[in-house]
């Protein structure tokens, strides 16, 4: 497996603000890579460096085997970009904008374009100034997906799409993945990343804090268990790796560290289980652990809060 995107120790500053600080991310060819982080964490800055729109201060960045700054034009023939906030020429129609972006990239698949317009229920005859945000996003998504490229870079592409359109978007991404395309999907929507992505990089304040497959990342988090037992479940509270323990009228609820789950299940079954619900760790929780805890620290250190902005 080859590497489509390789970023090592990337630094990008804007004046005194370090937007990216020793940021590292690797995307393998053919994978859908989730790029997660809250607003202002540096996702768009990293993507703009990849697109050669911003110049890296230091660090090594390789995109499809080339230098994103030096070889921008050649590389851009092989990729398509969907920005998070699509800005179009108000006097052109959506259909015209799709064609222009496709042609400037080196051509687009007419049949696929027509199919996508149909699927996304986009009216290509409307002037861009009349489009809602969601419709502008659709224009960029259709233009990108209808292009014959090997890499798709998408920066929060579904912002403004309704839930139905989001499902269609997910189907499209899965099809592109089957067709062998590499996709970098930046998002702050965890469920979307869970559904679509093979691997994930989490960015916080310009630095990558976690990277790996979803399974790998789940080891870092907790499973949540709700159970009804015949005997009193109070003893469970003493076990290692148990958190947020609540016992209420025969019903017990707790979170357990993934590496302690085996022992917890043994103990609970010895109490005579009437009913048990186990919820796998969600990315949401992983995310909250990273940001929740660290943001609490940040509150204690005001200068760090400043840096988040």
């Amino acid at each position: 497996m080859t590497t489509a995107i390789s970023i090592d120790n990337l630094v990008k500053t804007f004046g005194a603000v370090r937007a990216l600080d020793s940021f590292t991310m690797h995307v393998q060819t053919g994978e859908v890579h989730g790029f997660l982080g809250p607003n202002g964490a540096g996702k768009s800055t990293a993507i703009r460096v990849l697109l050669g729109l911003l110049r890296a201060d230091s660090g090594d960045v390789t995109l499809l085997g080339g230098d994103p700054w030096q070889d921008a034009v050649e590389l851009h023939r092989r990729l398509a970009y969907v920005p998070g906030d699509v800005s179009l020429w108000p006097e052109l129609t959506g259909g015209e904008a799709i064609d222009i972006l496709g042609r400037l990239r080196g051509g687009l698949d007419e049949a696929k374009r027509a199919r996508l317009i149909e699927r996304f229920d986009l009216d290509p005859t409307k002037k861009a100034r009349t489009y809602s945000k969601g419709n502008r996003q659709k224009v960029a998504i259709v233009a990108a997906l209808a292009s014959d490229v090997e890499l798709l870079i998408m920066d929060e592409p579904t912002a403004g799409l309704d839930p139905l359109m989001e499902i269609i978007f997910q189907e499209c991404i899965k099809e592109e993945q089957k067709a062998g395309k590499t996709i970098l999907l930046s998002s702050h929507l965890l469920y979307q990343v869970e559904i679509l992505c093979d691997r994930v990089t989490i960015i916080r304040q310009g630095t990558d804090v976690e990277s790996g497959t979803l399974d790998e990342l789940r080891h870092l988090t907790r499973t949540s268990i709700t159970a009804e037992t015949r005997e009193d479940a109070g003893v469970l509270a003493e076990l290692p790796g148990i958190h947020d323990f609540v016992l209420d009228n025969g019903q017990v609820h707790f979170d357990v560290d993934t590496d302690q789950i085996d022992q917890a299940i043994r103990e609970i079954s010895s109490l005579g289980v009437r009913n048990l619900i186990s919820r796998p760790p969600t990315l949401e929780q992983l995310f909250m652990r990273h940001y929740g805890e660290e943001l609490t620290e940040a509150e204690r250190a005001p200068e760090e809060v400043e840096a988040v902005r």
Partner: protein, 531 residues
């Protein structure tokens, strides 16, 4: 109407910087101009000479009828030379203010938020028209007080009529804009329609004044100019714009009931579902985006050239012995012995300055594309930065040279028809085309600013802005020579008043090439910046 008061305060709060700037700019222009009158025209003879200079069809067209020519007092100068221009300024101010707080709000969806709260349906419109009316009345009053306080020769009655003339003009164009925003779905088309009405009526009035027929009463500028502050002090013509506002404001309220929030009376038309093949080619998108601007500038300047070409001879004969004119032309470095040639040279420069405004705009729009993130769409495709910016630059240079030629041909044709000599055609066309390198230099400076200091893009307007200043205000202020020499336009030989000299033009072209090179290197090397 519930909530009007709150919204009014909100408008004043949002425009707390804009409003004082408008007030100050207008006051400084009007009162500042009046304050230099005593030095510029120390004697009665000087004032009468000025009247003779102003007494021609082209001036009547542009500025309005000449008032009090037999005794051309400072007040008569204000009424004849200042009022028309300032009316345009307050009209634009009022149109933009109304559109900004009505249609632009609906477009962004902010109006929906406001309307969903405890505000009446008419609250927004009431607030904005009250704000615009108040601002115009305040400007009128401050102008009147400022004029009389600065120059006692300007009597208070006349000053009050002058201020009232400005105020009613602003208010009536605010009312026109209020109707326009009901009809048009977008703020750009809404202000476009109102501005077009303003220019259209001003031009019709201009033809009326030029030909001295009934068209001179074309509203709104016609009656207002006929009020003749300081000279006749007529108040009844000012009732006409007030009546227009009185009809249009209720009409706008009524029209607003005939439509939904964010919708318009004129529905938008669908466009093509696919792009024509030309749009994907180099210059294709650029030409499509710029064709409206190219067309309107081209036609406008062609007509302008034709109008000037047809009056030059007459003006030249009329002012052959006028000392003021000689002084003015001498200050501009023109040969006063050959008056017609001097006028040709001056008009050529004026037209070239207008073309340079268009030319600089073709490059500064790149910055708009960059900050609006549209540039990102293009630059993330297989288009290099050099090609992206270079297309705009080449387009700017080629089309501005073309428009300059169009203006020149218009002026030259009508001048030659008037004089009956075909050699005059080439003389005038040469005088105009002579300025092409100065326009290229203006484009080149804009490219350099865009490439090197994009945050200071407005610096690119230096060449046209300073050029107008040096040409129009410089001689009045009696500027020292070195202050003229800052403007590149000053280095263009004043053909046909003086002999043609290719050296400064070649030097300018070389400097332009250097600036373009520096700009393109900057564009290649810098980050895109979105703020």
């Amino acid at each position: 109407m519930t909530g009007s008061w709150t919204l009014l305060r909100f408008i004043l709060r949002r425009d707390r910087v804009r409003i004082p700037i408008w007030i100050l700019a207008i006051l400084i222009t009007v009162v500042g101009t009046a304050s230099i009158f005593p030095d510029t025209y120390p004697s009665d003879a000087d004032r009468q000479a000025r009247a003779t200079l102003m007494e021609n069809p082209a001036m009547r067209m542009m500025l309005g009828p000449l008032q009090g020519a037999e005794d051309y007092t400072f007040g008569a100068m204000m009424a004849s030379e200042m009022l028309g221009m300032m009316m345009i300024v307050v009209s634009l101010m009022s149109i933009f203010m109304v559109v900004r707080h009505t249609r632009a709000e609906e477009e962004t969806g902010r109006a929906e938020l406001v309307r969903s709260s405890v505000t009446g349906r008419y609250a927004g419109m009431t607030a904005v028209i009250v704000a615009v009316a108040g601002l115009n009345l305040l400007i009128g009053l401050l102008t009147a007080v400022g004029l009389t306080a600065t120059l006692p020769e300007l009597d208070l009655t006349g000053s009050l009529v002058f201020g009232a003339a400005l105020a009613v003009t602003g208010i009536s164009f605010g009312a026109i804009a209020l109707v326009s925003v009901q009809i048009n779905e977008f703020s750009r088309s809404a202000s476009g329609m109102a501005v077009a009405i303003m220019i259209g009526t001003y031009v019709v009035r201009g033809f009326g004044d030029m030909l001295e027929n009934w068209l001179m009463w074309a509203p709104i500028s016609g009656p207002v100019l006929q009020s003749a502050p300081y000279v006749d002090n007529l108040l009844w013509p000012l009732l006409i714009p007030i009546a227009i506002a009185g009809v249009l404001i209720p009409l706008a309220f009524w029209l607003s009931d005939q439509r939904d929030v964010a919708a318009a009376l004129r529905p938008p038309r669908p466009g093509p579902a696919t792009a024509s093949p030309r749009l994907g080619m180099p210059f294709g998108l650029l030409f499509r985006l710029q064709r409206g601007s190219l067309l309107s500038w081209g036609i406008g300047l062609l007509l302008f050239g034709m109008a000037y070409g047809s009056v030059v001879n007459e003006v030249g004969e009329q002012y052959a012995d006028n000392p003021m004119v000689s002084e003015y032309f001498a200050a501009l470095g023109l040969d006063v012995g050959e008056l017609t040639e001097s006028i040709v040279a001056m008009i050529a420069m004026f037209m070239a300055l207008l073309v340079s405004v268009y030319a600089v705009g073709t490059v500064t729009r790149l910055r708009g594309e960059e900050t609006s993130l549209r540039a990102e769409n293009i630059l993330a495709t297989a288009v290099s930065r050099i090609r992206w910016a270079g297309e705009s630059m080449v387009f700017g240079i080629v089309t501005s040279t073309f428009i300059l030629g169009l203006t020149g041909v218009g002026a030259a044709t009508f001048f030659a028809l008037d004089s009956g000599s075909s050699s005059d055609f080439w003389m005038v066309l040469g005088a105009v085309m002579n300025y092409a390198p100065a326009i290229w230099l203006a484009v080149a400076l804009a490219v350099a600013v865009f490439g090197i200091i994009p945050q200071a893009m407005s610096l690119a307007w230096f060449v046209p802005a300073y050029g107008f200043f040096a040409l129009m205000i410089g001689p009045l202020l009696g500027l020292p020579g070195w202050l003229y020499n800052i403007s590149p336009f000053e280095y263009v030989p004043r053909v046909p008043s003086v002999d043609f000299d290719p050296v400064p033009l070649a030097v300018m072209t070389v400097i332009a090439l250097g600036l373009i090179l520096a700009g393109l290197i900057g564009i290649r090397r810098r980050d895109l910046s979105f703020v």
